[in-house]
C-alpha cells in the first residue's frame, strides 16, 4: 500500500483517497464544511487547507488526492492563518444566534470557530440578511445562518435525486432556497438538517425541544422497513427527542428516510396501549396480568389456534413464540404477517431508487430464516394471538377469541378481546435481519413504559406450569 506523511506520521492510503480521509485515519482531524464523504467534492469552503511540500500555495485537503511520498503539514503557521482567514470570512455575516439556535453544541461552525478562528471581529459593516421561505413540515430554514457550503444542494441533486434546493443569484447575494415558497418534496428531507454544518437547516420536529448536549445517544437500527438503516436514537429522561442516521457504508451510507426518522413518535403516542386490558361490552377495562394470562393459556390449550407473528419482531421474540408454542401449544399454527403484498422476501424489493424497501417491517427475512410461513388471506381460527412490534399491518381476523400481545393503539383495539402491552423497538435489545440478510442488533434506549412487558416474559408467565397466580 502506498504511503504518505501527515504531520510527521507515516500513513498508508488507498489510491484515489483524499487527504481529509487519510488524515482522519492517522488521527488528524482536518476541519471541513463543504466536504462530506457521501457527496461530491467541490472545495468551496476553503477551510480544509493543508500545506503540501513542493506546492507553493495552500491546498484544499478534500480535493487533493494522496500521492506516494507526499509530505503534508496540517498545523503550520500558513495553514493556521488560512483557516483563521476562512473563519473570519464566514462569520462576517453570520448572526450571533447561538443562544436560540438548535444547532448549538453540535455545530461545525461553532467548533471550527473555537478551534481555528479569532476571538475578535474586525468587521463592523451591516450584515447581509435574507427573507426565509417555508420549506414544508420537515425542515426549518434560516438563511441568515447559511455559510453557503452547498451540501444541501448537492444532497438534493446527488442523493435525493430531486434538484429542488437551489442557489439563486450569485456572489455575495446567493440565496439557497426552494423556489416560489414551494415545500420540499423529497422523502429524505430530514437529511438536510443532518448535513447542514450550521443551524440554517434544522428539523421542525426537534425545534426548541432539547439542547443537543443534554441528549443521551443510543446506537440502534431503524425498523421502518427491511433496509435496516443504522440509526442513533437521542433521548433524555426516557423521552425520545430525535433520531438520526448512523454511517453504514454497506446499508444506508449516511442517510435515512423521513418515514424512518420520525417513526419513533408512536413509541410515545398517548393512545398507545400501556396496560393489560380486556374488552367488556362496549368498553375497555384495565385488568391484571393474573386475570388475563390464565385465560390466554386456556384459550390456546385446544382447538384451532393461530399465532400470528409480526415480521417487525426480533429474532429472539420470534424464537420464544415458537418455543412456547412447541412446548405448550404444539397444535397451534404459526404464521407471519407484515406488509400486505410483501409476504415473502422474494416479493420484497426497492420502493424507490434511494433506500426505501417495500416491506415496512424490519425482520421479514428473519421470520423466513426461522421457517415461519406467511399468512395468506384472512386470519381464521377459534383463537388468534397476534404478536406485533408496532409496524406490521393487522390482517383481517375472524376468531372467537382474539389476543394482542405487543404494541397496539386505541384506534385498532376493537378487533381484539384482550390486549397485553409489549415493548417497542426502542425498548428492547434484539436481532433483526435486513433484506440483504445482514443481522443487526437493536439496542434498548428506553426503559419500558407503563406496564409493558417483553413477549418472552409474558409467554413464560402464561405457560410455565410452576407459575402461581400473581397478585396485582
Amino acid at each position: 500500500m502506498p504511503k504518505c506523511t501527515i504531520d510527521g506520521k507515516e500513513v498508508e492510503f488507498k489510491p484515489g483517497e483524499n487527504l481529509v480521509s487519510v488524515a482522519k485515519r492517522a488521527g488528524v482531524e482536518i476541519p471541513v464544511f463543504c466536504y462530506h464523504p457521501g457527496l461530491s467534492v467541490v472545495a468551496q469552503c476553503r477551510m480544509c487547507y493543508v500545506e503540501v511540500e513542493k506546492m507553493p500555495k495552500l491546498q484544499t485537503a478534500c480535493s487533493t488526492q494522496a500521492a506516494e511520498g507526499m509530505v503534508v503539514k496540517t498545523q503550520s503557521e500558513a495553514v493556521k492563518k488560512g483557516r483563521a482567514g476562512t473563519m473570519e470570512f464566514l462569520l462576517l455575516n453570520h448572526p450571533l444566534d447561538c443562544p436560540i439556535c438548535d444547532k448549538a453544541g453540535e455545530c461545525d461552525l461553532q467548533d471550527n470557530s473555537f478551534g481555528h478562528g479569532s476571538e475578535y471581529m474586525r468587521h463592523g459593516e451591516e450584515r447581509r440578511t435574507y427573507v426565509d421561505v417555508d420549506m414544508g413540515p420537515v425542515i426549518q430554514k434560516n438563511m441568515n445562518r447559511c455559510i453557503h457550503c452547498t451540501r444541501c444542494i448537492r444532497f438534493g441533486e446527488e442523493v435525493a435525486g430531486i434538484h429542488e434546493m437551489v442557489a439563486i443569484k450569485r456572489g455575495n447575494n446567493i440565496d439557497i432556497t426552494t423556489i416560489d415558497g414551494k415545500q420540499l418534496k423529497t422523502e429524505y428531507a430530514g437529511n438536510y438538517s443532518d448535513i447542514c454544518p450550521t443551524g440554517s437547516l434544522t428539523l421542525k420536529d426537534f425545534r426548541f425541544k432539547k439542547r443537543a448536549w443534554m441528549l443521551q445517544k443510543t446506537a440502534t437500527v431503524c425498523e421502518g422497513c427491511s433496509k435496516g438503516c443504522n440509526m442513533e436514537v437521542q433521548h433524555e429522561g426516557n423521552v425520545v427527542y430525535r433520531c438520526v442516521p448512523r454511517e453504514n457504508l454497506e446499508i444506508n451510507k449516511y442517510w435515512m428516510c423521513d418515514e424512518g426518522r420520525f417513526n419513533y413518535h408512536y413509541v410515545q403516542d398517548p393512545t398507545r396501549i400501556l396496560s393489560p386490558m380486556k374488552k367488556s361490552g362496549d368498553s375497555w377495562l384495565v385488568a391484571g396480568w393474573d386475570e388475563l394470562l390464565p385465560s390466554l393459556k386456556s384459550d390456546t390449550a385446544t382447538g384451532d389456534v393461530l399465532f400470528l407473528v409480526g415480521t417487525d419482531l426480533t429474532l429472539e421474540e420470534m424464537k420464544s413464540i415458537r418455543e412456547a408454542a412447541a412446548a405448550w401449544a404444539p397444535h397451534a399454527r404459526i404464521q407471519s404477517f407484515g406488509t400486505p403484498g410483501v409476504e415473502t422476501s422474494s416479493l420484497d424489493g426497492p420502493k424507490d431508487t434511494i433506500l426505501k424497501m417495500k416491506s415496512k417491517t424490519s425482520n421479514l427475512k428473519g421470520a423466513e430464516k426461522l421457517g415461519i410461513a406467511p399468512l395468506s388471506g384472512v386470519a381464521k381460527a377459534d383463537s388468534v394471538v397476534v404478536f406485533r412490534g408496532g409496524r406490521a399491518e393487522l390482517p383481517k381476523i375472524e376468531a372467537k377469541k382474539t389476543y394482542g400481545i405487543g404494541v397496539f393503539f386505541e384506534r385498532e383495539r376493537n378487533v381484539f378481546g384482550v390486549l397485553l402491552p409489549g415493548l417497542s423497538f426502542l425498548e428492547k435489545d434484539g436481532t433483526v435481519v435486513n433484506h440483504q440478510g445482514t443481522e443487526q442488533r437493536l439496542k434498548r434506549a428506553l426503559t419500558p413504559r407503563g406496564r409493558c412487558k417483553a413477549i418472552g416474559e409474558i409467554l413464560m408467565v402464561t405457560y410455565h406450569p410452576k407459575t402461581t397466580e400473581a397478585r396485582v
Binding site: 434538484h163 429542488e164 437551489v166 439563486i168 443569484k169 450569485r170 426552494t178 423556489i179 414551494k182
Partner: protein, 160 residues
C-alpha cells in the same frame, strides 16, 4: 400546462437540439430565445422552458438568476445599459449616467412610468477603445457623450 411561448420559439429550439450531446445545454439558448420574444422572463415562461428541456423548474430558476442579461423582472421598451467600468469611467461614464438619470427622471435600475426606458449601470461591454459605451437593447452605442446621449434618448421618445 398553458403555453406562453410561440411555435417560433419551439421551431428555433428544434434547430439547435442536434447541436448538443446533452439537452441541458439548450438552457441558455432557450432563455435567450424566450426573452427575445417576451422582453423578459416571467415565472410561467421559465416553467415552460423547464418542461421543454425536461428538468425541475428550480434548475431553470437557478441558472437564469446567475446571469445578468436575463431579465427576471419586466423592463422598458428601451433598456439603456451604460458601462461605468474602468475605461468608460476614465472617459466620463459617471457623468453620462447622472445625465441620463436626470433626463429620464429615474434612478439606475428603474423604469420610466410610461414603460419606455429602463436605465442601468453596466459592467465592461468589451468596446473599451471607443469608450464611453452603452448598450441600447441589443445594440452598442459607442463614443458616447452628453449630446449624442441626449440625441439618442430624444430619437427614441419620438419614435414611440
Amino acid at each position: 400546462m398553458e403555453k406562453h411561448l410561440s411555435e417560433k420559439f419551439y421551431q428555433a429550439m428544434k434547430l439547435k437540439e442536434s447541436r448538443y450531446p446533452d439537452r441541458k445545454a439548450l438552457i441558455l439558448p432557450a432563455l435567450h430565445q424566450a426573452q427575445a420574444e417576451y422582453g423578459w422572463l416571467p415565472k410561467e415562461v421559465l416553467a415552460e422552458i423547464a418542461q421543454y428541456i425536461g428538468v425541475h423548474e428550480a434548475q431553470i430558476r437557478e441558472v437564469a438568476s446567475f446571469y445578468t442579461m436575463y431579465n427576471l423582472k419586466p423592463v422598458g421598451k428601451m433598456h439603456l445599459k451604460i458601462c461605468t467600468n474602468v475605461a468608460c469611467c476614465l472617459r466620463g461614464a459617471d457623468e453620462l449616467v447622472d445625465y441620463a438619470s436626470k433626463k429620464l427622471g429615474i434612478q439606475c435600475g428603474e423604469t420610466t412610468a410610461d414603460g419606455t426606458f429602463t436605465l442601468s449601470e453596466e459592467e465592461c461591454l468589451g468596446a473599451c477603445t471607443t469608450a464611453p459605451v452603452m448598450m441600447a437593447n441589443d445594440d452598442y452605442v459607442e463614443n458616447l457623450d452628453i449630446p449624442s446621449l441626449n440625441q439618442f434618448i430624444e430619437k427614441v421618445k419620438h419614435e414611440r
